[in-house]
Amino acid sequence: MNSSLSMTDGHLSNGVLVQFMDDELTPAEAAKTERHLAHCSMCSHRYAELRRVSSSLDGFIESLQPAFSLSERQVLASKLESVNARNVSRTAGKPGPRLAWWGLAAAAALTVGVLYLPSSHSTPGAKTTQVARESTSAFEIDGETFVSLPFSNPELPVNARRIVQMQVPVSSLAEAGIVLEPVANQVAQPDRSVLADVLLGLDGQPVAVHIVTSD
């Protein structure tokens, strides 16, 4: 809007008055409008009318329903809590049903507060399990080798990271194309789980995994 306010026969248009009421004029325009209203009874009368209509509209809309409901808020809160377990597929990437377990586990791990960064030196006595890879790629963080999960969202930056240590079922690793070669016999059993550092992406979904045996 240019600085010359639209006037008709020396009076302010309704458009200007409405914008003045809604604080949509530039400071200069608003000042000019104010000055005009101060001495023009015709415009100030129209302005008062518009204000009256506007405030009764506000009153009408305010009278439409709803009351605050604590239970509804709780429903929302608990849905938000479980969001990490849901697929974040809306944002980007391929959802894939296999994400479900990882997401759940990651959310659970976060909830109980075992969020931490792995120390760059392994716990004494813990042996790093050998990982045979198929089509996955590996990279290093703080000297630890992480294996990318094939169904992670590749668009997320890896450096924005958060690592959660959790028990991961061997079967889930196998699904992700990570086959464990037994260091200790029990590790290879499919119903077993192993301790792993799981790298979570910005979307809260696992991006890569680093296996730590817990024996």
């Binding site: 458009g15 209509v53 809309i61 439409l64 929302l76 931490y116 120390s119 924005a160 910005l202």
Partner: protein, 186 residues
């Protein structure tokens, strides 16, 4: 279990990137507390019954959470919420084939007048007033109604334009014509 002894990223990054989960939920709930009634009124104004309104509003906040998780733009989350709610409701109305321009299905009836503090006479006057208002609003075109309703929620013209895909000056015209029409009719 060994505690983290090294933090290779600066603290600020830790805060924003690592601890986002809980703080994002908090942001969502704060915005819920601040705006959900207004959002519900707006959705009700567009013709949603109260179940639908709750559904739309809840989904809007869940999407807000997703939006924040995906590091979406945070400059105006309030307008963002209205836009999402608006589109959600419109999509629902389209898929339910109820999109026959019958907004305000029975606004006078759904206007829940606070009876507690009112005498019977006041109540009657209020419901008459609301009925008159609903009838007048019915004479406005849908975009005028939407602009006015969003304006009542305190959105600036630019934000209303974002919600409804209109230019600022078009929003201004709709607001002006809508108010003028109401003034004539009431």
């Amino acid at each position: 279990m060994e505690q983290a002894d090294t933090l290779s990223l600066p603290a600020a990054t830790w805060e924003t990137e690592f601890l986002e989960d809980t703080s994002l939920r908090r942001i969502v709930l704060e915005l819920y507390d601040r705006e959900h009634l207004g959002l519900r009124r707006y959705v009700a104004f567009l013709g949603a019954d109260s179940d639908t309104a709750w559904e739309v509003v809840q989904e809007s906040y869940l999407r807000l959470h997703q939006h924040l998780l995906a590091a979406g733009d945070r400059t105006n989350l309030r307008a963002w919420l209205y836009r999402v709610a608006h589109n959600l409701l419109r999509n629902m109305q389209v898929s339910a084939r109820t999109n026959r321009m019958d907004y305000l299905p029975d606004l006078a009836a759904s206007a829940d007048i606070r009876t507690a503090a009112m005498s019977a006479e006041e109540e009657m006057l209020a419901s008459e007033r609301n009925a008159r208002f609903a009838a007048a609003l019915d004479q406005l075109n849908p975009v005028q109604r939407e602009c006015l309703a969003l304006r009542t929620r305190g959105l600036k013209y630019r934000e209303i334009g974002d919600v409804l895909n209109l230019s600022v000056s078009t929003v201004g015209e709709h607001v002006q014509r809508g108010l003028e029409k109401l003034k004539e009719l009431l």
